[in-house]
Symmetry: C2
DNA sequence: ACAGATTATGTAAAGGTTTACACAGCATAG
DNA sequence: CTATGCTGTGTAAACCTTTACATAATCTGT
């Protein structure tokens, strides 16, 4: 029953007294094989404990049952929940997940490219906003790929994520409803599509409320805590203070809160702050952070489903799947000071 | 240069005007091949952009270059940093990482067992404290495996983690130094080895300070936030209050803090709390949590190194690698109330 | 100068699977 | 009764490597 070496298809064939071709067919095209034979084969499989050797299968088929997931940083708090969605969907279709992180290092990207070239992965999920590979190789031979969490900047790759414009709109609408009119946007970026979409939502919200945008309170940022802190410093330097900070993500919001607290201000009494993502920390902040929730597990699930579809059909049914973001109201937003005294 | 189908070893051989055997040797045993030949082969490889087909290689060699990492929950905040260490070490040795999570579901475990049986993974890193597979299969044919983060309960598997006893000792010593003598232990467990080791450290600390242990303030728990909250409730019910809570992990500590705050107490003024792990949230709590840091990336790195050693040597040099935990002093610990008034 | 050792390379088998093609048996239609 | 088609199965090739074994060429020591 449990030999030292795993049972092969040949062992099964011998026991079932059929050819290996029939065994293979009994497994993969059961309708092509007579009932009685199928029964014999199944019994033989049970006896031997046979599982098909994935290596041999992949070699023969010319494609593996692994999906490569590349993220810039595995430690990103958004990563794990998306990964759960990806993994569940993949596993239920017989696929496994291979993991890599680039740390924004091109060299790393190339190493993962090798996984792709050597046929170890049939498809690619890109967590980073850009193709982490050199440009020449990139166009050459990329397997079916899907971008996730952040639209892919430099390649025509289908994308699954949240509706950034709508999400940002929910945040800005909340702030406006509370009475804010001078609202800073922290985390503007030309290279990160998700961020620029969030800015679009921000501007649409201002516009709808008849507030003319003020570029002096639109701050650049790369989504790090430090960039949030820096933005606060800049605003105080320039003396162009808003009453609320709409941040491009939660990390930035954390940075903003740190910056404001360091100057002795209270949140939300003196300034309101919103984030985006709803990372696990958000609820533990003081005050807890009002933010926009990404349906992370759902994103992962949809992305993997789309990729698997690509793998079988070849053509993507849709080029972009946008999920609905939800406003999570906590304690970092209140009416601006002038309304309360 | 970039054909539709990837270059094979045969293409390289043809261009270099040698046999495929020589190409293979030039790649894997360069010292066995003449300098001039090696040069030709390398040029041919550069021209074709050849990468060896991992499937064919694994099939021939009878072992893959993938390591399966199984965790009970990918979302665990401890997971990602360990994963980084695992991944870096694996990649630098040409291995890739395959990911699975069981959600404590035996059925899931079996599915991952298939990955192992079908030769897709050469080794196993177990993040969960128990072998997630059925018992019969378990003994049958398990590949080289290493437990990580939590000792493996039901199998003689080498383990890499933190020195739980020493870590717990650091926490209890801090509390005692601050003047606490009634210190609760929250998160006792018979099945989780890491937790029981931490309790050992707790008791050693009490003993060294000449404090006789009081079982009424040793509370069971499974390491969840809820279990921490529950423990507080129980203590208030029984009216056997400590002045400090030493918690088996940060999640539990968070639960304890929630429970105490809900009853209107201040931390650390009324009660001190310590955690274990130093999860990313710990620093964002109010008050920020004094805890024991797990060197997570280092744990991952050592675990993978040990596994790779196992894969080549067969015999593990050591059966347990314990890394040094560090005390991280933040704001959730202070002298007990009676000392301060 | 020659036996024997050493070095460099080639030939071919093996690893486990899938599948095109061939074939046998049998039913159906003419 | 023969031609035709269908169904179920088997044979063998192919996928791409690695490596044991064989062979050819060169070197070493006498």
């Amino acid at each position: 029953m449990s030999n030292s070496t795993p049972a092969t298809i040949e062992d099964v064939a011998r026991i079932a007294n059929v050819s290996i071709a029939t065994v293979s067919r009994a497994i993969h095209m059961p309708e092509k094989v007579a009932n009685s034979t199928r029964l014999k084969v199944n019994q033989a499989i049970a006896i031997t404990g046979y599982t098909t050797n994935a290596m041999a299968r992949s070699l023969r088929l010319g494609r593996s049952n692994m999906i490569l997931v590349v993220a810039p940083d595995i430690g990103d708090p958004n990563f794990s929940n998306i990964l759960i969605g990806l993994e569940n969907e993949a596993r239920s279709h017989g696929y496994g997940i291979l993991i890599g992180h680039t740390q924004n290092d091109a060299q790393r990207g190339l190493e993962y490219l090798k996984f792709l070239n050597s046929n170890q992965a049939a498809g690619l999920i890109l967590f980073t906003g850009i193709l982490p590979f050199g440009h020449q190789t990139m166009t050459a031979r990329l397997p079916p790929s899907v971008g996730v969490f952040e639209p892919v900047f430099n390649g025509g790759i289908p994308y699954v994520g949240v509706d950034d414009v709508a999400g940002a709109r929910k945040a800005i609408d909340l702030l406006i409803t509370e009475g804010h009119r001078r609202i800073a946007f922290v985390g503007d970026s030309r290279t990160r599509l998700a961020y620029s979409r969030r800015r679009t939502g921000y501007e649409a919200g201002l516009d709808a409320a008849g507030i003319s945008p003020d570029l002096r309170i639109v701050l650049e940022g790369d989504g790090t805590i430090e960039s949030g802190r820096l933005a606060v410093e800049q605003l105080f330097m320039r003396d162009t203070l808003p009453t609320a900070f709409m941040c491009v993500n939660d990390q930035t919001a954390i940075g903003v809160m740190i910056g404001l607290k360091a100057r002795g201000y209270d949140i939300p009494e003196d300034f309101s702050v919103t984030g985006f993502d709803d990372v696990p920390q958000a609820v533990f902040m003081t005050p807890s952070l009002t933010t926009i929730r990404q349906p992370r597990t759902a994103i992962g699930k949809h992305a993997m489903a789309l990729l698997l579809e690509l793998l079988s059909d070849g053509e993507p049914a849709e080029t972009e799947i946008l999920l609905r973001p939800d406003l999570v109201v906590r304690n970092s937003v209140a009416a601006p000071a002038r309304f309360r005294r």
